[in-house]
Structure formats: C-alpha cells, structure tokens
C-alpha cells in the first residue's frame, strides 16, 4: 500500500493543475488580508451595525477586534465554501483521469488488486486535501497573526456574540482545521465515487460541485419542510461544524468559561455523520470498481 501511495502522490504533485489549487488559496487569502488591512473597519462596522446603538465601539476596539484570529476566522468562512471545488478538482480526476488518458487499463493489467489500487488513490487524495488545508492554515492563521497581531477572538453568530480570550484560541483552530480536513475528505470521497463512473474528469468535478452547492443551499435555507426532513442528513449541514469549536459556554453571570465548547456532543455527532458518509462513498466506489469492466 505504501508503494501505491507514493506513486499516486508522485503523480498528483507532478501535475500542474495541482498547484492551481494552492495558488488559488494563496491568492484568495492575500486578497482578503489586503482588503481587511485597508478597509477592515468597514467590514466590522457592517457586523456591529445592529448593536452600535447600545455599545461604544471606539477605534481602539475596532483595531483590537480586527486581529489575526478574527481575520483567519473570516477567511475560513469564505474559503471553506470554495475549498470543495479545489478538492474535487483532484479527487474527481483520480480514476476518470486515468481512464481518459488510457493508463487505467495498463495499470489494472498489473498484479495489483483493485481495492488496494483504489485505496491508494483515495489516501493520496486525502493527503492532498490535508496538505491544502495545512497550506491554508499557514497563510490564513499564521499569516494573519503576523499581519494583524493577536487579541481576543469575537465570533458573530446570527443571534449571539461569543468572545474568547487570546490564550484560549489557538487550540480551537487546531481542532477546527482537523475537523475541516474530515469535512473536505467527505467532498473528496464523493468526487472519488463519481470518478469511478466516468471516463472524463470534468463530469465528476462538476457533478460534485453541483451536489455540494445544492445541498449547501438546502442546509442554509431555513425552510421548515427541509429542516425537518432532509437537512439533518445532508453532509453539507455537518461540514460547517468546525465553527462549533468557537462557540463557548458562559456561567450564570454571562462570562465566558475558558476552554469550553458550547455543544461538543453536537460537533461529535456531526463528525460521525461525515465519517459515515466517507465510509459509504468510498465503500461504494470500491464495490462498484471491483465489478466494473474497464473499456477505456
């Protein structure tokens, strides 16, 4: 398995398109950081607009609020919607691309089991996903910390505000990135499954993105019919659970309890849903691939 994994990673990182994803992430992060550097106050005023009448938001408050942790959170909010496309770009190509190139028939006429072959490709896609996230973490988190400094993190939910002390944040980001890796692996495994059916990678990539977009809209629409029926089962509903690491509990006096997570069981439940999806997608891909006639 290790040899297969090495081959797959070698192939992935030899392709120019792999670096498009890294380039795209770097561009988006930098653009966002630059925008906030020059006009972060406007962004903050938009968020604070609603409670501006009740509190005094001095320039110093806004400067402290616009710190590296806050910027990173804002970047993740945007990028973790775009990341699925970048992941699908590679994962959707792993089988379909080989079929398209004609190398699949040569590879499978070698003494390597189809399950092993497929798992090697899946693990390689997963490693790629993790590396992409690591790259994002370095730019979005460490980069923002360098540019904007660190301070308390204030997270604005739709109906509440959660503030954490600066010494209570870093571990949350580690947990969030870990969770995001699982979330993106879910997308990778969907693209992977669709790739088994196709002889051309465009189909699986577009299909994956379409599914993610439609499910995301259903997850966020707040229509009671969908909320009751399908929303709890959509993987996109659970992909955003990384944010749960930034929702804190407070004591009776309303003060944040350091090191707390508002609803850890909910996050763990979401995590298990994603793991089930990964298992289902990859399991199905293997089951289908083992029986598939290679005609390409």
């Amino acid at each position: 398995m290790w040899k297969l994994l090495k081959i797959e990673l070698f192939k992935i990182f030899k392709r120019p398109r792999t670096y498009i994803a890294f380039g795209a992430i770097a561009a988006i992060v930098f653009l966002f950081q630059i925008a906030l550097w020059f006009d972060g106050k406007t962004y903050i005023e938009l968020i604070l607009g609603n409670i501006d009448a009740s509190f005094d938001f001095s320039d110093q408050f806004k400067t402290h609020l616009l710190n590296g942790y806050f910027v990173c959170f804002a970047v993740l909010n945007i990028l973790l919607i775009q990341m699925p496309l970048l992941v699908a770009l590679i994962a959707g190509d792993v089988i379909a691309g080989e079929a398209n190139m004609g190398t699949l028939r040569l590879s499978l006429s070698k003494p390597v089991g189809r399950t092993q072959y497929l798992l090697g490709k899946f693990f390689a896609s997963t490693i790629y996903t993790v590396l992409l996230l690591l790259f994002l973490a370095i730019l979005a988190l460490f980069g923002s910390m360098l540019l904007f400094g660190i301070n308390d993190l204030v997270v604005f939910r739709s109906t509440s505000i959660h503030q954490m002390s600066q010494d209570d944040i870093f571990w949350r980001y580690l947990a969030a990135f870990g969770y995001a890796a699982v979330a993106l692996t879910t997308v990778a495994s969907l693209a992977f499954l669709l790739s088994v059916f196709a002889d051309n990678s465009i189909g699986p990539i577009i299909a994956t993105m379409s599914i993610v977009i439609v499910f995301t809209i259903l997850s966020e629409m707040n229509i009671p019919l969908y909320d009751r029926t399908i929303k709890p089962y959509l993987f996109t509903t659970h992909m955003v659970a990384w944010k749960g690491f930034f929702y804190v509990r407070s004591n009776e006096e309303g003060a944040t309890i350091k090191g707390s997570i508002e609803n850890l069981p909910a996050i763990l439940k979401s995590l298990s849903v994603l793991l089930i999806y990964i298992f289902l997608f990859v399991g199905s891909a293997i089951w289908i691939f083992r029986r598939k006639d290679i005609l390409s």
Binding site: I51, S54, N77, N151, R157, I161, Q163, V240, K243, E262
Partner: protein
Amino acid sequence: MNLISMFIVFTKCRYCKFFFVTLSLLFYWANANAQTAEEILKKIKTKLGKIKDYEAEGKMKTNVAFIKAPVATVKVFYKEPDKILILNETGISFIPKGSVNININNIFVNMQAFDIIDAGKDNTGLRIIKLLPKDDTADIVLSTLYVDEKNLVVKKSKITTKENGTYELEMNYSKFLEYGLPDKVIFSFNTKDYKLPKGITLDYDDGSEKNPDKLKNKRGTVEINYKNYIINKGIDDKIFRR
C-alpha cells in the same frame, strides 16, 4: 388651669424643669441633624470634589443576553469635572453606551440645572433624592439617587433618559470609602436586539440558538470590581479622545 398658673407651677417644679430642658435638647438635636436634600448633595459634592482625577484598575464582567465575554481587566479614567473612560487597553470589551453615567460626579457638576426633591427614605434607610432637569430638552428626564447620609456616598442611582431608557447604578464601598470611591459598581442598561445581517456568515446549527426567551431579556449589566485607584496624579486629556 390657665397658662399663667401652669407657668407658676413649672417654675416652682424641679422635675418639670429637668424634663423641659431634656426635651428641648432632644428637639434641637433632632432638628440640627435633619439635613435637607440640598445640603446632603452639597456635602457629597464637596467630598467628591477632592478627587481631581483618578486612574483605576479593575475586573469587568459583561452580562448581556446575547454576549458571552470573558472577564476583562480594564482601566477607568476620570478627570473633573465630567470626563470618564472605561478602557480595555490590551483586549476587547463591550462597553455600553451611557457608561459615562458610571461617574456619579456628573450629577454634581451642575446642580443648579436640577430641581432637587427630597423623597424621604427607602426601607434600607437610604435617603432618596430626585433630580428633575429644569431644561425640558435635556436627554435626562429624571435622576434618582439613593444616598447613605452617614457616609455621604451615593449607593444607588437611576437615570431615566428619553433616547436610551433607564440606566441603573449600584455602588459598594469599602476600601475607598473615605474618598467616596466605590469598590464595586454594577451598571445596568438597555440593549437593542442583536441580529446579524444574513449572508455575513453561515452558522453552524448546534441546537443552541433556539432559546428565544433568553434573548428577549433586553437589559444588560456591567460589573466592575476595582482593585486600586491612583488619585490626583494628573491625567492627560488626550486619553479621553480615543
């Protein structure tokens, strides 16, 4: 018996004389300590007037329904006659608007602008003094002070405004009583509903924001526990321009 007879009996009666003098003394003493509301306020003003400025350090707790914030270390700056600033120098604190009213001195700056009404005492023995602004256009509609006459400190105040509802201030005194400076201040205020514009963020629904009753509480409190005061050391006006 007519009055002349009574007077003759009184001058001849030893016990009556004693009784009369004691009674007179008591009456005089009672009258001497029954200060007017104005007098009390003047005395408090004089006491507080000794404080030209201070820089205080304390721990601030924010208790607002829709905010979860850690206890923060803050500094409170005051400079006479009416400059006050609560500042979290290194971190982030949600300072309510109207926090200027944390400084009780504001009321004493211009007492002529108010009609002072003595409203007696409450059931804890605090003297209730109401101040009605003479100017109808002022934002403050009514201020009610609950005064500890003996120590000459304001223990509680309620300030009703036109635009922002009622602010309440509760002060506990201990270490800094002689200066008229509180150890602990609890400031409560009105809050408007908080709702983020849709599209700014995609929330994770972990089931915790489905408690609308909790969020209906439209008052928040800020509690500051003062650790120390640095009094009359001189404070630059620049600090208040942040």
